[in-house]
């Protein structure tokens, strides 16, 4: 059932992919080696074991792969509207059968032409369960997915019946049901194409990626070593970034990268939580805050268990939280007032009327509901000091403002996830969600549909499911947005989750390097502009 998703961990720094960009001699030739031009090093938080967008759903890997490949569509960073990259057009009359035309002239770095067949073959390969590719789930809306991914037994087919090659540059995708945001989902890099050579034996190409992006590998690469990229002269896109050479360096500790920045070896770094009080003095005039907040941090409630079944209890818990103070625990956080992220088209502020501090009202609601019997169990990832601090802050508020008894349940993060997926959490869990593709739908479905990927509180509302189906089938985009907003309004009345905050990364950047920072895209160091 699960579709591949990017989940942002709430309120803490460590799990977020911390992107740090460095500039080893920006432009002016000092230390840039033999080449003229701009070269920079982008450092990332986690090591990547291999480079393959079809088999990678990690933020870090996708970040690097997005330089080596190119997406079919992209959300324009400044306007928030969808634009085509590899795709020439993505059209449908009924939101169910989609025709994708790709632009001519694109080539893989091994010389192969990028064709409609490249996409269809890659998607079939990825969707075939025995290949166990990470982005298998990206195709679960396509007709025939179940034949390749049966609940039990061997797959009945090796190709998706919903995919058809029409001609060299055109193919059609038939979905199981109408789904109007489909073109937006094509901005996910997990649906990029692999070369025919790679598909013959992907294991041989784990460390030798063959893409069609603005960059290609510069020399060899082994897992654990930095990834060096150089400009791909054959890149057919119009949106190539300014940098000529990019090196991705891996730092397992974000503070180490921060120190590398201060030493002048790196000139773009995200500020880790622990530096919240000092980054402004450490790097005066060199810090900025992301304009986009592409996610939401919230509390997941087990709404099928007493006393969480009572909406009044859920609202009381929400009204007792001082979100302003909570947000100050992490750099760049600000309080949430609705259920979606500010950086998606159609987002509205203040849809959550209970996302404010009103202790008197909270007490009244709780009294009406008959109080909170027993202990409130609060789950947190104990291996993450930031999350423990956050959990204690929440617990203190409920304990002191509503008189609740709190039981903290700290477990390693690796243990909480499976427990939650199995529906075994009998308490409140701190969570975060960041969209895979910027659409209201990508918040409403995963968080609130009865079949939602991260709806681990088991919230079920038949009407929400039905409304989602209707909005998905709406071909008129403006009307679809209004439909999604109506769903959010219904959810706000029930408060199945408690929105807490949105995160905007704070980052440091050296003079002369200006990373892309726009309201509808996360800060992107690959797309930096250079002062000279």
């Amino acid at each position: 059932m699960a579709r591949t998703r990017r989940i942002v961990k709430a309120a803490t720094g460590t799990a977020l992919a911390v992107l740090l960009a460095g500039c080893s001699g920006a432009g002016s030739g000092d230390g840039a080696g033999k080449d003229d031009g701009h070269s920079m090093a982008i450092a990332t938080a986690a090591e990547v074991p291999y480079l393959n967008p079809s088999n990678d759903n990690g933020t870090t890997g996708i970040q690097i792969e997005s330089a080596l490949w190119a997406p079919l569509t992209r959300v324009d960073a400044k306007t928030g509207k969808l634009v085509n990259v590899v795709a020439d057009s993505v059209t449908s009359k009924d939101a169910k059968t989609w025709t994708i035309k790709i632009k001519p002239g694109w080539k893989f770095t091994n010389g192969e032409k990028l064709t409609a067949k490249s996409f269809v073959d890659t998607w079939n390969y990825t969707a075939y369960a025995p290949h166990a590719f990470a982005n298998n789930g990206a195709f679960q809306r396509v007709e025939g997915y179940e034949d390749l991914n049966p609940a039990k037994g061997k797959p009945k087919a090796t190709t998706l019946s919903g995919l058809k090659v029409v001609d060299d540059l055109t193919f059609t995708v038939t979905l199981k049901g109408a789904f109007s945001p489909y073109p937006t989902t094509l901005s996910y890099l997990g649906v990029a194409a692999l070369s025919a050579e790679t598909l013959k034996d992907p294991d041989q190409f784990k460390h030798k990626p063959i893409g069609y992006g603005a960059y290609k590998l510069d020399g060899g690469w082994k897992a654990g070593q930095p990834v060096r990229l150089m400009r791909n002269k054959d890149y057919a896109g119009k949106d190539a970034p300014q940098a000529d050479h990019i090196t991705f360096r891996f730092f397992s500790n974000p503070e180490t990268a921060y120190n590398e920045f201060l030493a002048g070896n790196v000139d773009y770094v995200a500020v880790p939580s622990s530096k919240i009080d000092s980054y402004k003095t450490d790097a005066p005039g060199k810090w900025s805050q992301a304009k986009a907040a592409a996610g939401i941090n919230y509390l997941n409630l087990p709404v099928t268990l007493k006393p969480y079944t009572d909406t009044r209890v859920r609202r009381a818990l929400s009204l007792a939280l001082d979100r302003d103070s909570l947000a100050k625990l992490k750099p760049g956080n600000f309080p949430a007032t609705s259920f979606t992220a500010p950086s998606v088209d159609g987002h509205r502020e203040n849809t959550c009327s209970d996302c404010r501090l009103d202790v008197a009202r909270a007490k009244k609601l709780l009294r009406e509901a008959g109080g909170f019997p027993g202990k409130l169990r609060l789950f947190f990832a104990s291996d993450n000091p930031g999350e423990q601090v956050y959990a204690e802050a929440l617990g203190n508020m409920w304990r002191q403002k509503l008189g609740l008894k709190i039981q903290y349940v700290g477990k390693p993060g690796a243990e909480i996830g499976p427990l939650a997926n199995a529906g075994k959490l009998d308490g409140i869990r701190i969570m975060g969600w960041g969209h895979d593709y910027p659409a209201l739908e990508d918040y409403l479905t995963p968080m609130f549909a009865s079949y939602g990927d991260v709806n681990t509180g088991r919230y079920r509302d038949a009407k929400v499911d039905r409304m989602l189906g209707e909005a998905n089938a709406q071909v008129d985009q403006a009307q679809a947005t209004r439909d999604y907003q109506a769903i959010e309004d219904r959810i706000a009345e029930q408060m199945p989750v408690l929105p807490l905050s949105h995160s905007r990364d704070v980052y440091l950047h050296a003079e002369g390097v200006e990373p892309l920072n726009a309201p509808f895209a996360n800060v992107d160091p690959v797309r930096s502009t250079f002062a000279d």
């Binding site: 622990s274 009080d277 103070s325 990832a381 000091p385 203190n396 390693p412």
Partner: protein, 300 residues
């Protein structure tokens, strides 16, 4: 070697049993009380013990009254240690943090010392089967990845307390102390006074207690007093693995571990670390002076 000859000369004097009866005990105490170093460190232990037992003697403030708006507030006249990240009075929290930390570290020290001491003596004094059994068991325990072992063992406890944590630390920690004890026992067991005593028909128990123990315990003791601090560190590390003490428990280990991630606010780290250091110092100096006072060879 001339060492051997010299040692033989010393044998006769050391054949006398030492450290037995109360008159000597009183004398030792009187001697200790004359040393300002001992008095100070013993006083420090007393204060820390009082703090652990009766935190209310030191503060009237409730450590659980917190206001997030005051988060990380700096020390002031009214709040000596400032506020912690949750906006709770830090002085009260550091005082209340003494109990679990002191309980874990002292019990780890005492029990760990006893286990290492006894097993080390056995392994060192009885070569062959006993030594092999103890030493190879120690090898296996020592080679287990501690992290994994602690998680697996602590998972088995339905509720975790200071005692279960101390138990696991001792269970996995004794091999180091045992090796050290064994090494000194090995060198002492063939000393002439031991051989002489054995020749006179003394039993193994008597020899171990009277001759081996006092003459071989010093390095282990030195190592043990150092572990007072290490145990608090381990206690904190376990918390972050999700298998240690958890909030709302207050402990120095937790405070130091959290403060290590918020190093911009020095006071968060300074105060619990200071108290922990005083505790370690007190145990170390008390240990040293008591050993010196008890050591028959130092009598001049």
């Amino acid at each position: 070697m001339s060492d051997t000859a010299l040692a033989t000369a010393a044998t006769a004097a050391e054949l006398e049993p030492v450290g037995e009866d109360s008159p000597r005990g009183a004398a030792v105490l009187r001697e200790l009380l004359r040393k300002p170093r001992f008095v100070l460190s013993a006083l420090a232990i007393l204060v820390i013990a009082l703090m652990a037992a009766f935190p209310r003697l030191f503060t009237a403030t409730d450590p659980t009254v917190c206001d997030l708006k005051l988060s990380k507030g700096a020390p002031s006249a009214a709040h000596w240690f400032g506020y912690d990240i949750q906006g709770c009075d830090y002085y009260a929290n550091v005082i209340y943090g003494a109990r679990p930390s002191v309980l874990v570290s002292v019990s780890v020290c005492v029990v760990g010392f006893a286990v290492a001491c006894v097993l080390g003596m056995l392994a060192g004094y009885f070569p062959g089967f006993v030594d092999s059994l103890v030493s190879r068991t120690a090898d296996v325990l020592f080679a287990l990845p501690g992290l994994v072992a602690m998680i697996v063992i602590l998972q088995a406890f339905s509720s975790r307390s200071v005692w279960t944590i101390a138990f696991v630390i001792v269970l996995l920690g004794w091999p180091a102390g045992m090796r050290l004890m064994r090494s000194t026992v090995l060198s002492v067991r063939t000393r002439e006074y031991v051989l002489a005593s054995r020749a006179l028909g003394a039993g193994a128990q008597h020899i171990l207690r009277v001759h081996i123990l006092p003459n071989s315990v010093a390095p282990l003791l030195a190592m043990t007093t150092l572990t007072v601090g290490a145990a608090v560190g381990t206690e904190a590390a376990l918390t972050f693995l999700g298998i240690g003490l958890q909030p709302p428990t207050i402990s120095w280990g937790l405070q130091i571990a959290i403060a290590a991630s918020y190093r911009d606010d020095v006071h968060l780290f300074l105060f619990p670390a200071l108290l922990l250091t005083i505790t370690v110092m007190a145990f170390m100096i008390t240990g040293d002076t008591v050993r010196d006072a008890l050591d028959p060879k130092l009598k001049r």
